[in-house]
């Protein structure tokens, strides 16, 4: 079967000030194929696809779409020519309903004599949602009442509704649980069957190898190679990505799951304000890596927040055992040497318009100030640089705003912000979201090192391999209740967990 070209970039170059995000990249996408795109954080994956979709212009180079010269000036124009993109960051607009989000900018379709018919719009929205198999959400609901996964699905419905000929999926799956992922995989496969094209960006090698027909590797803004299906091997891909052999452990290598009998946190019979957790109890032990998994709306994300005092608790309480104090606010949690990496990076974990430096410092300023509260610039710099280096945060300077970082690098800033503080109890909600494998390995080693120093880590994650690979003890939540608990063991596998999850 001869491959038919749908999109081509020739010598595409993009500069951001001193940063070269793309360097003369020749990139081809074919019809009837899922083209994978992989590369370290900041290698230019989002940049090249967002240029194709019209979100930003290229500095130099040409693009062709369906044989025509392609130079979209906006995302709307890009969508009109047939390129739809599901963006890495949150793409829905707060304060609107689900339906309004789906038809943002297209309200005129539902306008007769100046009035927008909400019922018509809701009906069309329902169809759009049904079309991707996302049922059970009322389109007239406010988008803010949805969790992150559902918001993402709304966004997907919006993109698919416009029937794109080429669909870009930018690192969407890490924000989704299995159910959401299945929806995306189905959409991609359907597009391939309809002889349309998909560009799929992910850091999950397995996922890429399973779904993609070809896999293009970017490194530091250069296109390194494009692998065919039979060339896709984990080792080969990694080597192309980082430019050298990757050695060392990925997860921790030991299977010693002994748990210190000393309890540090007691979560006693809590029911949260959103009603997602009901009469939930849990004891957290000193020095353990406690993995928490489940479906996305099972209540595990709320549990993390509740422990940190950021979720309204209707009944029950969270007690810090060592001090005997109850934790009800983030402030108290911090005072008891707790830290929390939120899943909602852009909204809750970062100040996007602030510099990398200020974001990293924000959680640890009291740690670097001397007794009089004075901060010596040298200490401040050392503190920031340590995080930047330890996590390989790719930036032009630490004074750069975090909003200009690539998705994975933003996540590293959040991680660094809390790691630097040296908390005794660290709650991590999807800590490796969007992070490339190299840095993921570094993060896992950091987490393991903290455990060995006697620190307690609560790791909430959508990624089962990561939970299995790291946890001393793994609990699974289902519908707000404990549905399974596993000790660390070599034989533990995903199927055993999925059984109690669904």
């Amino acid at each position: 079967m001869s491959k038919e070209l749908i999109f081509e970039a020739r010598q595409l170059t993009k500069h951001f000030g001193p940063t070269v995000a793309l360097n003369k990249v020749d990139f081809k996408v074919y019809k009837g194929q899922i083209t994978g795109l992989i590369g370290e954080n900041g290698s230019g994956k989002s940049t090249i696809t967002s240029i194709a979709a019209g979100m930003q212009p290229a500095t130099e180079g040409e693009m062709f779409f369906q044989g025509q010269s392609h130079k979209p000036s906006s995302m709307i124009e890009g969508a009109k020519t047939g390129i739809g993109m599901i963006v890495q960051e949150q793409g829905t607009v707060s304060g609107l309903t689900v339906a309004q989000n789906i038809f943002l900018g297209e309200e005129n379709k539902f306008r007769t004599m100046g009035i927008i018919h909400a019922s018509k719009m809701n009906k069309a929205a329902k169809e759009a949602l049904d079309a991707i198999g996302f049922t059970g959400v009322d389109p007239s609901r406010s988008i803010d009442s949805l969790n992150m996964q559902d918001r993402k699905l709304v966004e997907i419905a919006k993109v698919i509704y416009n029937k794109p000929d080429m669909l870009v999926v930018d690192e969407t799956t890490t924000a989704l649980s299995q159910q959401g992922r299945t929806i995306i995989y189905d959409i991609m496969k359907r597009m391939r069957e309809e002889n349309k094209a998909v560009v799929f960006i992910s850091h999950d090698l397995q996922e890429l190898m399973d779904t993609c027909d070809t896999l293009t590797v970017l490194r530091d803004g250069n296109l390194i190679t494009t692998l065919e299906k039979d060339q896709m091997k984990e080792e080969t891909i990694k080597k192309h990505m980082v430019g050298r052999e990757m050695k060392g452990d990925y997860y921790r290598s030991d299977y010693d799951g002994t748990i210190d009998p000393q309890v540090v946190l007691d979560i006693d019979n809590i029911t949260t304000g959103t009603g997602l957790l009901k009469n939930f109890s849990l004891k957290v032990h000193k020095g353990e890596i406690l993995g928490i998994g489940g479906l996305s709306d099972c209540g595990m994300h709320e549990l993390g927040k509740a422990i940190f005092g950021e979720e309204k608790i209707l009944r029950g309480k969270v007690t810090h055992i060592t001090s005997g104090d109850q934790i009800t606010t983030a402030r108290e949690a911090l005072d008891h040497s707790m830290g929390y990496v939120s899943k909602n990076r852009d909204k809750e974990a970062l100040v996007l318009t602030a510099s990398i430096q200020d974001n990293i410092l924000s959680a640890g300023i009291d740690k670097i100030a001397n007794k009089l509260g004075v901060i010596i610039p040298k200490n401040r710099k050392a503190y920031v640089n340590k995080q930047v280096q330890e996590l390989s945060i790719k930036c032009a300077s630490v004074e750069q705003n975090v909003q200009y970082l690539s998705g994975g690098n933003k996540q590293k800033v959040v991680f660094g912000k809390w790691i630097g503080r040296d908390c005794d109890i660290l709650i991590l909600d999807c800590p490796t979201r969007g992070v490339d494998i190299g840095v993921k390995a570094a993060m896992y080693q950091l987490i393991y090192r903290m455990k060995q120093q006697g620190k307690t880590i609560i790791m909430i994650s959508e990624e089962l391999p990561e939970l299995i690979g790291m946890s001393d003890r793994l609990i699974i939540i289902k519908n707000g209740q404990l549905s399974g608990e596993f000790a660390r063991s070599e034989v533990l596998n995903e199927n055993m967990i999925i059984d109690v999850m669904i």
Partner: protein, 333 residues
């Protein structure tokens, strides 16, 4: 990981300088120089005469004191419209105390205590009450203005000459020394608190993203109250300096200070909504620019109303340009 050094030192220091950041950093200074040059020409050299320089300095000091402190308050995202009224209240009550006791130290205390008390109230309000803060400060400003009228009663102006025991008159040199010391000291204090303690980062974070700041475990009430207290110091010092320099205070003392301060912050290069681009220098540079603007327009013989219109236009233009260049950078990714 062996690939550890990733901050590209060579890049940031190389010839490819990031022009846009430099331009945005320098533009407030350029604005100041430009307005001095333009008005020096338009007024036929009357802007920079010795006598006008004296009055310029006096005005800059007052606006700058209030504006530098206000950087903290606007920085955390609190739009405070009561600053001018508080300067007025401080100097009027301070004047009354001075006249009644003949003691300048008591007057100083009163000038400081009034804004500090108001600052605490504002801080508590901003932390606990769910009414938009700027509305609260508009109302507060109106109440204060009315209160000043009430306590002044029949006399509209207070004269320090009427004090029970004479209050020292400072000559020009003495006044200049006091002005420079007070402004310099306050500026350094604010600069220090902002850049060498945790306060500055906390202010920027809080103004930039409330949720993220809260989740970082910051004591938000404490930060807010601290910000209002720093601002109150500036207001109090301004009230006291007006009192001892002008020696006559009344209902219309510092009427335009509140507005000047807002315009000053914007002209000084910080967003009026606060957040990460908050900086102390905005207070002092902006105060100088707005004072030159006011003075230049006045020398040119424009009426107060026309001056107000001109200032409004400048204000809007700066806000527009700032928000425009800000938006284009915010690409969704």
């Amino acid at each position: 990981m062996d690939k550890s050094i990733v901050i590209d030192e060579t890049n940031s220091k190389s010839s490819k300088i990031n022009y846009s950041t430099i331009i945005s950093k320098l533009s407030p200074y350029a604005g100041l120089v430009l307005s001095i040059v333009v008005f020096q020409i338009l007024t036929g050299g009357k802007l920079l005469t010795i006598s006008n320089l004296q009055s310029l300095t006096n005005q800059v000091i007052i606006t700058a004191l209030v504006a530098i402190g206000a950087v903290y308050v606007f920085g955390i995202g609190c739009f405070d419209m009561s600053l001018g009224s508080l300067v007025c209240l401080g100097s009027v009550v301070g004047g009354m105390v001075a006249i009644a006791t003949g003691n300048i130290f008591f007057a100083f205390l009163v000038c400081m205590i009034i804004p500090i008390a108001a600052g605490i109230i504002k801080g508590i309000f901003a932390s606990y009450v769910e009414v938009p803060f700027f509305i609260f400060t508009i109302v507060l400003g109106m109440v204060i203005n009315a209160f000043v009228l009430v306590i002044l009663g029949k006399e509209t102006t207070l004269y320090l000459e009427n004090a029970v025991t004479p209050i020292k008159t400072f000559n020009f040199t003495e006044m200049t020394v006091i002005n420079v010391l007070v402004l310099g000291g306050f500026y350094l204090l604010c600069l220090f608190l902002f850049n060498y303690t945790g306060l500055g980062i906390r202010v920027k974070m809080l103004g930039g993203n409330y949720d993220a700041a809260k989740q970082t475990g910051m004591n938000i009430t404490k930060i807010k109250i601290t910000a209002f207290l720093v601002s109150a110091l500036g207001v109090g010092l301004a009230a006291f300096l007006i009192l001892i320099r002008v020696r006559t205070v009344g209902y219309s003392t510092a009427v335009s200070t509140g507005n000047d301060v807002m315009v000053a912050l914007v002209l000084g290069g910080m967003p009026i909504s606060g957040g990460p681009r908050t900086k102390i220098s905005a207070g002092i540079i902006g105060a100088a620019t707005i004072t030159v603007l006011n003075s230049g327009l006045a020398i040119m013989g424009l009426s107060t109303g026309t001056i107000q219109i001109c200032r409004g236009i400048v204000f809007l233009a700066v806000v527009l340009v700032a928000s425009f260049s800000y938006r284009t950078k915010m690409l969704p990714r």
